[in-house]
Amino acid sequence: MVEGLLYLTAALGATAFLLALGRFIRGPSAADRVAAFDVLTIISITGIVLAALAEGRGIYLDVALVYALLSFLGVITVAHYLERSV
């Protein structure tokens, strides 16, 4: 039961990643791509948490935290750049 749910989680996460990747490729504007990138990052963070669970290594959680931090800064920076370039 638990095992089955974990496989389901991985499958759903992978589907989510592919769907968001579709938006990232289609765009059409830079803002759309950044929005897709943001979602992709968050899906990756949950992916890292799942990897930490699978491997049983808590150190991966620090990676997830730093990843979240960098993604936030990245989105803010790009948004700032978009506003400046009007």
Partner: protein, 112 residues
Amino acid sequence: MTALLDLLGAALLAAGSAFLMFGALGLLRMPDIYNRLQAGTKATTLGTLLVLAGAACLRPEWWPKLLLIGLFLLFTNPLSSQVLARAAHRTGAPRSPLTRIDQLEERGGGGS
């Protein structure tokens, strides 16, 4: 007891990733940037929080770091969507023809 907690954790993980999937689907299907952000930001926030809660059930000793990631995302995720929506509006991103009203445009550009 541990088996029950494991089951709860796995269920939370599955529910969280299901919401992530809905969010990504919304991101793909919605007609304009604002609606895409709407779908994206809500679903990913709840989805990630559920996954973190599930991880905390499976590995209770990791709770401080999971809580930290959760708090951080809870605070920054809506913020980055807002900043992005504002940038999109200021640069005149196209709106879906379904849009009924835009009181921000009526106000005129600029502002704080």
